[in-house]
């Protein structure tokens, strides 16, 4: 398989990430002073010891901000630099500039907080809820009447479910470099998933209109949602430093500061109530989700509805009532992370099914299968289920995993072993694709064909390893009829394509590929016109393909004279057009059609389509130690028509690894005072090469007619397969403790596993 030139650059170590760019002479480095506790007040900062260190040292605080000291978007509740109080551990109090990175860090460590007074910190979302400390209003979605339906249920169960947060651990930490501009604005290279949003915040902080701020984003060393809103502050600090000092300023966080000061996946605490018939049909489901939003709103209002949309998972549930509340606590503002609230909702439903299966004496897989969504059902938010692929993918995955045999093997193994127990679980996936905020489903592009035949394609998409650039290149090349090698994907700049949306919600390829295609179609039309005039034929007789011009384009269809090469290359044709003064540039725009949603009734058509799939995972637990390993993971994933199979496979494997990490391993730990305990990569464990099971992934490749390339988005959905990992371990634990009720407190760390085995569960907190 041939790879694109980018991959060669990368393995040679030549890709330039933010901190690799050559530094300008006189560049200053920024380091941040962070709040030392989860909640507190202070009277000021003593900068004297820092300033005494070196003449280049300068300390910037809130009053130095020329514009608005505000990072918030949905709600204006987040100061860029603290003003007399702080609301979480790791909040930025000051920016310290110095001539070198080491000096800046040393100076930052010498800034003293004056009049520090720690205040009580709330870390539990339910406690915040009880105190009425919520953000905006709770949201409720409903269909049917669960109350009435419980009367017809053979089994009605209630339970409580916890899911922990998750650190992104993009390997490249957050950072930005800013250059001051004579307009009073700045030019910024930022590690952001959303240059237009970053531009808006930087302009607001500098107090200038957006047209005086340019943001450029090159390749990111991973992001996963963590650089969607959370990149803005570092770009704004760099820009502030640049404007104040008149020099270029780099702010690049070290890992510890990044882990302390940046948002992560939301922890959730939830209650559910589920009603089923005796044979395992789900008749009603209710849930209350207490989202731990942290100290500021950030993206929480966009994330919460995705939890609600995914409350019923891949299942047909006729009666639903689900309510979500954003609870304000004294933890770092939680933010976007691959899945965006979906995984938390799905975990609650799967917990309810597991608990119900135990009571009904059924295998959870049986309940899962019985209730799968079918074409013609409706989602509780009013959208019809179209082209359902739940049964197809689940059936295929169970077959691949030889589920019946696997069950029998596990039973035999568990009978034969005292200290080792095996377990397995399945997870059927149904995940909606589109930004849940309808206005965000738009994108633009700018395509230039240069007169030597080379092509530059700019869109709003950010390349962070998910291969969006390559997908755009493939579709642009085939649309233009240019050789793939002639396409270069430009860095993403706000001056090239304006008002772009974040590369997020798995929509990066869907939207930006389309925007690029619109522009390429336009240029292709012009080029074909030039070729037809030159060759003296109708435009319909000309084809442009892989860098060559062909005559008798329709030959195959009409059976007329055979198609033949016209003796013109793409580059020749481009030059011809150039000489004839034909415009070789075009702007493209795309807005996803057919989306609507009414916030009042909570009904509509929020998703363009859904992605389906299934995972079956097995695990072996050492019941003496509580440690476990995952043995096998079988995945059948609804990729539809893959634009780039290697890239898509990588997304599935990598997404699944993150999901398994979230479900099993990664424990974001705060102490009872709200201090982040897991603040290094030695205290925060994430999947390594040893942890991952054998993976067997298969594409379910039925085309998806709702998008032009017949493909489906792939970024987020595979993450949720990790949920099967939690239940595989739980299944093994229950084999060691027959009859014992399961627990639903993700991640399934060995510590919790051991507690379960030792009958030593921690008391439920908060109630």
């Amino acid at each position: 398989m041939k790879r694109n030139p980018d991959s060669i650059v990368n393995v040679l170590g030549k890709t330039l990430y933010v901190d690799d760019l050559p530094e300008n002479a006189g560049m200053l480095h920024g380091a941040v002073v962070l709040s030392p506790s989860a909640h507190g007040r202070y009277s000021g900062l003593d900068e004297s010891k820092a300033l005494a260190l070196d003449p280049s040292v300068r300390v910037l605080v809130a009053k130095d901000v020329p514009g608005q000291n505000q990072l918030g978007s949905a709600v204006l509740d987040e100061a860029l630099l603290a003003e007399g109080d702080w609301h979480y551990h790791g909040q930025v109090l000051a920016l310290v500039l110095a001539s070198s990175r080491v000096l800046a860090r040393r100076a930052a460590a010498r800034v003293q907080i004056l009049g520090r007074e720690d205040l009580p910190a709330v870390t539990d979302p339910r406690e915040a809820f009880k105190r009425g400390d919520i953000i905006l209003s709770p949201r409720t979605q409903r269909m049917g009447d669960p109350e009435a339906a419980y009367k017809d249920c053979a089994l009605v169960l209630e339970g409580r479910v916890e899911s922990g947060g998750q650190e992104h651990v993009y390997l490249e930490t957050q950072g930005a470099i800013a250059w001051p501009e004579d307009s009073g604005g700045a030019r910024v290279i930022s590690g952001t998933q959303s240059p237009a949003a970053t531009q808006k915040i930087v302009a607001r902080v500098l107090g200038v209109p957006m047209n005086r701020v340019e943001i450029e984003t090159r390749r990111l060393g991973g992001a996963f949602g963590g650089k969607e809103d959370q990149a803005n502050g570092w770009a704004a600090l760099a820009a502030l430093g640049a404007v104040k000092s008149g020099k270029p300023v780099k702010v690049y966080l070290n890992r510890r500061d990044d882990m302390l000061a940046t948002g992560k996946r939301h922890p959730y605490s939830s209650d559910f109530k589920i009603g089923l018939s005796a044979d395992g049909m789900i008749l009603a489901f209710e849930a209350d989700y207490y989202q731990n939003a942290g100290a500021a709103c950030d993206l929480s209002p966009a994330i919460l509805p995705r939890t609600l949309f995914h409350a019923a998972g891949a299942y047909r549930v006729p009666n639903v009532r689900v309510t979500g509340t954003m609870c304000r606590t004294n933890l770092v503002p939680f933010t976007a992370f691959r899945g965006f609230g979906g995984p938390q909702g799905l975990f609650v439903m799967e917990s309810a099914i597991e608990q119900a299966a135990a009571v009904l004496g059924m295998d959870p897989v049986e309940i899962q299968r019985k209730n799968l969504l079918k074409t013609g059902d409706s989602f509780h938010y009013g959208q019809d289920v179209e082209d359902a692929r739940a049964e197809a993918t689940v059936t295929r995955c169970l077959q691949k995993a030889r589920y019946e045999t696997l069950r029998a093997e596990i039973t035999a193994f568990n009978a034969a072993h005292k200290d080792l127990k095996r377990g397995a679980a399945a997870f059927p996936l149904c995940f909606g694709i589109s930004f849940t905020k309808i206005m965000m489903n738009q994108g633009g592009s700018l395509v230039h064909v240069y007169n030597d035949g080379s092509v530059s394609v700019a869109t709003g998409a950010i390349e962070m390893g998910q291969g969006v650039g390559r997908k755009i290149a493939i579709v642009s090349a085939s649309t233009l009829g240019a050789p793939l090698a002639s396409i270069r994907i430009d860095s993403t700049r706000t001056s090239t394509v304006a008002n772009t949306m974040p590369t997020a919600a798995s929509t990066g390829a869907d939207i930006n590929v389309m925007a690029a295609k619109v522009a390429c179609d336009e240029i292709r039309k012009r080029l074909i016109g030039v070729a037809a005039a030159r060759l003296g034929v109708e435009p319909s007789a000309v084809a442009l393909e892989a860098g060559r011009v062909y005559l008798n384009a329709g030959a195959a269809a009409t059976g007329s004279e055979a198609r033949r090469d016209a003796g013109l290359s793409f580059a020749d044709l481009v030059n011809l057009a150039y000489e004839q003064r034909v415009d070789l540039s075009a702007h493209g725009f795309y807005a996803t059609p057919g989306l609507h949603f009414d916030m009042k009734s909570e009904k509509g058509h929020p998703f363009l389509y859904h992605v389906y799939g299934c995972a079956v995972i097995s695990a072996t637990v050492d019941t003496l130690r509580g440690s476990y390993q995952f043995d096998d993971a079988f995945i059948v994933h609804d990729i539809a028509n893959s634009i780039d199979p290697i890239v898509d496979m990588g997304q599935i494997e990598g997404g699944f690894a993150q999901g398994l990490g979230w479900a099993a391993l990664e424990e974001l730990k705060f102490d009872d005072k709200g201090l982040l305990v897991s603040n290094t990569l030695s205290t925060y464990k994430l999947p390594d090469a040893h942890f991952m099971p054998r993976m067997d992934v298969e594409f379910y490749d039925k085309p998806n007619p709702t998008v032009v390339a017949n493909s489906k988005a792939v970024g987020e959905p595979p993450l949720m397969y990790g949920i099967a990992g939690y239940f595989a371990v739980l299944d093994a634990l229950k084999a060691a403790k027959p009859g014992k009720k399961g627990f639903y407190d993700l991640p399934m760390t060995p510590e919790k596993a051991l507690r379960f085995l030792a009958d030593d569960e921690p008391k439920e907190q908060g109630s």
Partner: protein, 157 residues
């Protein structure tokens, strides 16, 4: 014993070339490579010895350069990603999609070069143990596993 008070001059072999460089006593090898020598192919992911992004070979052994003092490397032979220049392991990572964002890749490749010289024969358990020191947040390690297998094949031919 050396006087470590101020910057001192070191002599190292880097990617086959002898270089004389100034280093402060507290400088890590990583800082020396990136900031003094401009060899930014070596990445910094944690500066705490946890992620492996900064892995280079010192006298053939994989070392986390954030955890080594530059002064300790006086006289050593250091290989960074810039010195590999089209090694079969690099090709295998490109062909088998052994990376996504690419940030872990230079360290991963150097650790893999060391692994394959220590274990030229196929040995999945050894691979997993060995590569455990390098974190990749993007790939789920499957592309990396394939890249190792493919590099091993081409090194044998």
């Amino acid at each position: 014993m050396k006087d470590y008070a101020g910057p001192i001059e070191l002599s190292l072999r880097i990617n086959g070339e002898t270089r004389r460089v100034q280093a402060r006593p507290g400088d890590s090898l990583l800082r020396l490579l990136r900031e003094r020598l401009g060899l930014t192919g070596t990445k910094c992911g944690c500066e705490n010895g946890d992620c492996g992004a900064c892995t280079v070979l010192v006298d053939g052994a994989p070392i986390k350069s954030c955890m080594a003092l530059a002064v300790e490397c006086e006289g050593s032979d250091i290989l960074t990603i810039e010195g590999l220049r089209g090694h079969p392991v690099q090709k295998a990572f490109a062909v088998e999609n052994g990376f996504q964002c690419g940030f872990c890749t230079p360290g991963m490749i150097l650790n893999a070069v060391a692994l394959l010289s220590a274990h030229p024969e196929e040995d999945e358990e050894a691979d997993r143990e060995w590569m455990q020191s390098n974190i990749c947040r993007c790939t789920g390690y499957e592309g990396i596993r394939l890249a190792l297998a493919s590099a091993r094949r081409s090194l044998k031919d």
